[in-house]
Amino acid sequence: MNESASPARSNGPYFGDFGGRFVPEALIAALDEIDAAYQKASNDPEYIAELNELHRTYTGRPSIMTEVPRFAEHAGNARILLKREDLNHTGSHKINNVLGQALLTKRMGKTRVIAETGAGQHGVATATAAALLGLDCTIYMGAEDTRRQALNVARMRLLGAEVVAVEAGSQTLKDAINEAFRDWVASVETTHYLFGTVAGPHPFPALVRDLQRIVGVEAREQVQEITGRLPDAVVACVGGGSNAIGIFHPFIDDAQVRLIGCEAAGDGVDTARHAATITQGTPGVLHGAHSLMLQDEDGQTLESHSISAGLDYPGVGPEHAWLAASGRAEYRPVTDTQAMDAFRLLCETEGIIPAIESAHALSGAIDLGKELGPESVILVSLSGRGDKDVNTAARWFELLDEGAEQL
């Protein structure tokens, strides 16, 4: 058995021991409906053409690839290439998934979308697609995250979405997901839950992955054009895991390409304040899927912590749990400090302000470049840009003049 070289493909419900549907019976019919609608759409040239046209004329695909030699001087002089999902309309990879699901919403005859959001990127993308396609839109966001990401709250409201600040629990992404599920149980006849990552009940992990694969498909071709070969490693940050699975997937059969996910280690994995689910988590059921999660000995979900609201999630998508269990992908923890150091380095060496999520991947790439040396080629998913994080970064680096108003 050589599972690590080539794990079998899965379209769910299970990825090895992980995945499934651990949801109230009331949602099963809706999940079946999405599954059927997606199977049909993905074989329908009209859906594919419509999505491709939106990618080309609205999102700005294909996203470009940027080599960053000045940054790479700090990473063992490896060749580092950034897949620029930050240049997408709305500022992150999230739009890839959202447009696919929004078109699906119309095909199912539903008129409203709801979504959860942590940092706000998925919420902004969903509100954008809803405006574009004429759908009603409600976004659930933890109250703590609405404070951390006030700019994105304003963006969503400008786009016509209702933003609900969730006061329950840790007031972060996990609680926003709970609240969105509650809404969905009561509104499922008219409403599609536009889930933002590769977690949740089947078919979301496979559906969102398929819609994000475009990142890896483009990147695989671009790396070969630029370097004449496949990369030695592909690095991406992992919260729920959608950008990572999107860029990893087209490389899964290339056994020589290492796949490396960077998890948010917050204050450190030896403290109670982190979000390193694969490094420190245990098998359990959260938000509709059996995967790895941070939990106490009674199975109560532990609160996660990261400076990045987008990675502050105590669960992870089931396919990542499987890639970790099979050994095909490696997952490494990156602390807040390490991520912010990489954040600043990219700003100052290349003139690119990354999302703090993506800075975790950049930190991983620095370490990996030092390990692999100057002949190596490292592909990094720059999953989002840092507009939304300028406030956080300004406070972290103490850049605001005394008496300056908050950004």
């Binding site: 499934g20 549907r21 651990f22 949801v23 109230p24 019976e25 009331a26 949602l27 099963i28 019919a29 809706a30 329950a168 629990g169 996990k174 709970n178 599920f181 509650r182 149980v185 009561a186 509104s187 499922v188 006849e189 359990g284 059921v285 959260l286 938000h287 509709g288 939990q295 000995e297 009674d298 199975g299 109560q300 979900t301």
Partner: protein
């Protein structure tokens, strides 16, 4: 210790009594604290509740509305543990009421499905209601509940297809929990119009007993549901009474609910 009564036995006894439907009361263990919650559960039994659902507080109760979610948060903040729930089962089942645990799947999975089933049976529990575990995913629980003779109570919803109603009825033991509306727990002004049809369809799909939950909060609603269901499940309203005015208030509401059920019309054909 009294012999464990399966919920089907309790429902049979209610029918033998000439009452149209059983009263099923839900209270989360640990709200406002473990001892008070046990006292409240005994109080509602004394007031006429036939089956007690003891809730295992969970950090992510996606099927519950604000009242139960808040109660779970209070209970967890107070330090309630899974083993406290088993102690509550033991004390409440000693009253002779049927006692089931209502739990999301993860705490049970973490405890060990087999170990939890063993300890639940040993504490005198009749079985478990699993709001986020469908029969499709329940192989371990089905095996363990067979081994320890526990009721397994799955949910059906207005959106369930006929195939799923049949599959769920076949997998359940004790009763099937019919979620009366598409929504989460909590009081409503009206019980869903779908409830009666869902009960009929679930029976037609092979269920021996069907109890209705979600949205039943007052004696009039209980009487109405009692006309067609084998049991009427009340949760949030009892918790609100307990929260506002203590154990006595929960008992008083349970008594009024039981009273309304005692005089409800007998269901045709039952």
């Amino acid at each position: 210790m009294s012999a464990v009564r399966s919920t089907a036995d309790v429902l049979d006894a209610v029918r033998a009594d000439g009452r149209p439907a059983a009263l099923v009361g839900y209270l989360p263990v640990g709200f406002p604290d473990v001892d008070t919650s046990i006292k409240a559960a005994k109080e509602i039994v004394a007031a006429g509740v036939d089956i007690v659902e003891l809730g295992l507080p969970y950090s992510d109760p996606g099927m519950d509305g604000v009242v139960i979610q808040h109660a779970a948060e209070v209970a967890l903040a107070g330090g309630v543990r899974t083993r406290d729930v088993l102690r509550a089962v033991e004390e409440v089942s000693a009253t002779g009421a049927g006692v089931v645990v209502m739990s999301y799947y993860n705490p049970v999975l973490r405890y060990g499905v087999n170990a939890f089933s063993r300890d639940l049976a040993s504490a005198g529990g009749a079985g478990m209601i699993t709001p986020d575990l469908i029969p499709d995913e329940a192989d371990d629980w089905i095996a363990a509940s067979d081994q320890y003779g526990l009721d397994r109570i799955f949910l059906v919803a207005p959106s369930s297809t006929r195939e799923r109603l049949a599959m769920t009825a076949a997998a359940s033991r004790g009763f099937v929990y019919a979620a009366s509306t598409m929504g989460v727990t909590g009081t409503r002004t009206a019980v869903g119009e779908h409830a009666r049809r869902l009960v009929d369809d679930t029976r037609a799909a092979g269920a021996a007993n069907v109890c209705v939950g979600l949205g039943v909060s007052n004696p009039a609603q209980a009487a109405e549901v009692g006309e067609y269901a084998d049991g009427v499940i009340v949760g949030s309203a009892l918790i609100r009474a307990l929260d506002a005015d203590g154990v006595g208030a929960a008992g008083k509401l349970a008594g009024e609910l039981a009273g309304s059920l005692a005089v409800a019309k007998k269901p045709v054909g039952k």
